[in-house]
């Protein structure tokens, strides 16, 4: 009994801070989303669900939603495939393995804003190294087709290391005898991969998918710095649209409504994955 009382004091400071800085704002943002609030004019009026009704007729919202989905699906699936390939490649002992692992971590460690600026320079139409190496003259960030894919490519470069690290950790848990036993039984490389490695890696892959999908869905800085949402809003994601409504047009009511929608979507995504994860563990 006494110990339990003491235990509370260890946990309490963190829980109080978490509640003040995340739970309270979350309730506040719900309340804001039901208001018409313009910061500069000191307007603040309760309007019920009007913002949500407006959202349903807002083409720019649906455009941002579509862009966010495209970005999330493309970058997460490419990262997973590339990450798996790299993890399989370096999951053996070779000379200078430590060095290679550190190099693989570089994109992960570079600040997102810095890597966005780096890639903006690489993508530069006239003086960019990409066009020079490919021998073409494409306006990567200025064309509606290329811009979103350029953003996807940058994100894949930046976040694949994280995928590689988690998958490598997952691969190391698989007992070596399993491979040998399979080989003795005459299984080829492909059989070993699809029948042993992939099934055993499934929980780790799910964890990777949770983290990466949530991150990609709420993407802000990478694209905001790379393209600012342009050209013609073709790279504008939900977070960028919400940010612009909040801090560029200073509509705190409608901006908060968009923020609530992002929150609900990420909540839905996590519940979906956690269900899959717990079902997988039972099987």
């Amino acid at each position: 009994m006494r110990d339990e009382e003491r235990g509370r004091w260890f946990v309490m400071p963190s829980l109080v801070l978490l509640s003040i800085v995340t739970i309270y704002p979350l309730i506040y943002v719900l309340y804001l989303s039901l208001q018409r609030r313009l910061l500069i004019f000191d307007v603040s009026r309760f309007i019920g669900i009007d913002n949500y009704l407006f959202l349903l007729k807002d083409d720019r919202f649906f455009n941002a939603f579509k862009n966010t989905l495209y970005f999330t699906v493309m970058s997460v699936s490419l990262e997973l495939l590339l990450g798996l390939a790299i993890a399989l490649l370096i999951n053996r002992s070779f000379r200078m393995k430590g060095l290679v692992r550190a190099i693989v971590l570089i994109p992960w460690a570079i600040p997102t804003v810095v890597s966005a600026k780096m890639w903006e320079w690489i993508y530069n139409t006239d003086f960019g190294i990409l066009n020079y190496l490919l021998g073409v003259k494409i306006n990567w960030l200025g064309s509606p087709f290329w811009a979103i894919n350029a953003a996807v490519f940058m994100d894949v470069w930046k976040t694949t290391p994280f995928v590689v690290i988690l998958l490598t950790a997952g691969l190391q848990v698989i007992p070596k005898d399993l491979y040998q036993a399979a080989r003795v039984d005459g299984a080829g490389r492909w059989d070993i991969f699809t029948r042993i490695v992939l099934p055993l890696l499934k929980p780790v892959i799910l964890v990777v998918l949770i983290f990466r999908t949530l991150d990609a869905f709420r993407v802000f800085d990478a694209i905001y710095v790379l393209t600012g949402g342009g050209p013609a809003n073709t790279t504008e994601t939900l977070s960028i649209y919400a940010y612009k409504v909040l801090f560029q047009t200073l509509q705190f009511g409608y901006g908060s409504t968009l923020a609530v929608v992002v929150f609900l979507c990420t909540g839905g995504i996590s519940i979906f994955y956690i269900r899959m994860l717990s079902r997988g563990v039972k099987l």
């Binding site: 110990d3 339990e4 003491r6 235990g7 509370r8 260890f10 946990v11 400071p13 963190s14 829980l15 801070l17 978490l18 003040i20 800085v21 995340t22 704002p25 506040y28 943002v29 370096i90 430590g98 550190a102 190099i103 693989v104 570089i106 460690a109 570079i110 600040p111 997102t112 804003v113 810095v114 600026k117 780096m118 320079w121 530069n124 006239d126 003086f127 190294i129 470069w157 290391p161 994280f162 690290i165 950790a169 964890v207 983290f211 709420r218 802000f220 800085d221 905001y224 710095v225 977070s239 919400a242 909040l246 801090f247 901006g255 923020a259 609530v260 992002v262 929150f263 990420t266 996590s270």
Partner: protein, 270 residues
């Protein structure tokens, strides 16, 4: 033959990962007149001018200092709060343990954009706008879930017997915590520190909205709003990127094992 292909792939992989930074480094050594010429790839007359100009023309040093203060304070605060909480969750009897861990985990899934508008209003009302304090408190909160999660896993690996033996010998739980458990969990604490430091060094959204002047501007905001009158000064930009990335590269090369440990403890073992 097999080996050759393998090493070729490794070289390709290294180039892919390090190439963009390498290109930025090469760009930073080029004088302005060479920036608009390709080929050559390497600078004909390498210069340090870009590095000198970012410290001379801009309050760049101040910005780096701000980031260092924010990242260091955030790391210290999250470690203190996080290790206390993690110790409580791993070793003490507390009600609703599963609920608390679930709460902590769900906070880590919060999209920052969802809380930025109310936090902005609160911070403005408290007169904390454009202060480093506002950033430190926000970052500490958003890195606490990671710290608690990773450290709980590390504390759990320390046998309960050690805790019980020390209690029998007359230590209070708090004494057990800082005299015995903290030193034993040092590797985990170190791994957490690196992850939290990198997170706060790199954060952009809150830094962009809570700061308005150089007084509290951090590196990512400084880089994103890099002054350019008519066009982006690519040489200066490259030099600035290299300077702010160096500390991170050093961390990665010196502590890659710890970083990997922290990342995997934070997501897989849970």
């Amino acid at each position: 033959m097999r080996r050759t292909i393998f090493y070729l792939l490794i070289i390709l992989l290294s180039l892919y990962c390090a190439g963009p930074l390498l290109w930025q480094f090469i760009t930073s050594l080029k004088p302005d007149t060479e920036l608009t010429k390709l080929p050559p790839i390497l600078p004909r007359s390498p210069t340090m001018d870009n590095y000198i100009s970012i410290f001379k023309g801009h309050p760049f040093f101040r910005i780096i200092l701000n980031s260092a203060i924010v990242a260091a304070s955030t790391t210290a605060l999250s470690l203190i709060l996080g290790s206390l909480c993690a110790f409580g969750l791993a070793k003490l009897r507390i009600g609703y343990k599963g609920l608390i861990l679930g709460f902590v985990l769900s906070v880590s899934m919060f999209p920052p954009i969802a809380t930025v508008s109310p936090l902005y209003i609160i911070i403005r009302a408290l007169g904390l706008r454009d202060t480093l304090f506002a950033l430190i408190i926000t970052y500490t909160t958003f890195s606490l879930p990671l710290a608690i999660w990773v450290l709980t896993n590390f504390f759990r690996e320390i046998p309960d017997e050690i805790y019980l033996a020390a209690r029998v010998d007359g230590c209070t739980p708090f004494q057990v915590f800082y005299k015995i458990m903290l030193p034993l969990a040092a590797p985990g604490i170190f791994a957490t520190a690196i992850l939290v430091f990198i997170f706060s060094w790199n954060e952009f959204l809150f830094a962009l909205t809570f700061t308005s002047t150089v007084a509290s501007r951090t590196i990512p905001v400084g880089i994103a709003l890099f002054p350019g009158l008519h066009e982006v000064p690519w040489g200066d930009m490259a030099a600035a990127s290299v300077v702010v990335t160096i500390p991170l590269i050093i961390l990665v090369f010196a502590f890659q094992k710890r970083i990997i440990e922290g990342l995997t403890a934070g997501s897989i073992r849970g």
